[in-house]
Amino acid sequence: MTSDLTTEDTVYIIYIAAQPQKVWDALTISEFTKRYFFGRSVESDWKKGSSWMLRMPDGRVDVKGVVREADPPRKLAVSWIVDWIDPKPPEAIVTYEIEDTGNGVMRLTMTESHPTAIPRAWLEGGRKGWPMILSGLKSLIETGKPLGLPTPMPPEGPRK
């Protein structure tokens, strides 16, 4: 593991022609996430304090955490712990904010923050993934068709 640690945020902003509820649903309902989030499904009741998880297409757990803030359809913040890395990485926080810019266009801002430092390579991994995921979300909502990007698997394979 590299000794180059960082607490930098990753921020990605994308504008989507849709009602805020559509964007919220795309983030929180598996029927949608499976089509743009590398085949992954989500599980939670999306209430503050509830657990949530992200499952790989074969059912293994990819990410788990707790819902820190839920204000549908405007804001969702979750803790984010990648489950298959041993030892488990520190908790990150992923926040989605959905703001109305007028004209029926929403600004979706994804912020991945790191209260505890992580290796820079992990940060770079996230920075490669979010543009694919959120470009796919926008395409799915606006065109009804996902981008269908290939599903990347964890580099060393899940340990459990």
């Binding site: 902003i13 994308i14 694919m132 470009s135 926008k138 395409s139 068709k145 981008l147 269908g148 990007l149």
Partner: protein
């Protein structure tokens, strides 16, 4: 010096993405400006409002390899005589998989005030470009 990088994936060919950046008929539909140039290395380019007169940004074409790479200098006209205030924009376009282009826009050598503006502007412009190329309609956020 500051930089801003934005990556997006678009259901389109690299040529369509190149045309969206460089052809006024396409650009005007999502950018509220046209980009005017012959897009040869060494040529000037201008970012012109749809009134056809007002130039908001200008620069030189530094590298041009259609439809894969375009590098331009970028500055407001009143900064033309101050090269130390000029920034640089690099567009890299590739076929991520058949039918899907990956566009990376890397805006470097940015003064802090310009960084603020382009950090807001690029996600709007590129979201709008993606909507236009995929649906035929820009997201009309202006």
């Amino acid at each position: 010096m500051n930089s801003f990088v934005y990556v997006t994936y678009i259901q389109a060919t690299p040529q369509k993405v190149w045309d969206a950046i460089t052809k006024p008929d396409v650009t005007r539909q999502f950018w509220m400006h046209t980009n005017d140039s012959d897009w040869k290395a060494g040529s000037d380019w201008r970012h012109t409002r749809l009134d056809g007169d007002t130039v908001d940004v200008q620069g030189k074409v530094l590298e041009s390899d259609p439809p894969k790479r375009l590098i331009i200098s970028w500055f407001a006209p009143h900064k033309a005589a101050n090269p130390e205030l000029h920034s640089r924009v690099q567009f890299d376009i590739s076929e991520h998989k058949p039918g899907i282009a990956r566009l990376e826009v890397s805006h470097t050598d940015l003064q802090p005030d310009v960084l603020n503006g382009v950090s807001i502007g690029w996600p709007q412009v590129l979201s709008n470009m993606k909507s236009l190329l995929e649906t035929g309609k820009a997201a009309s956020m202006w």
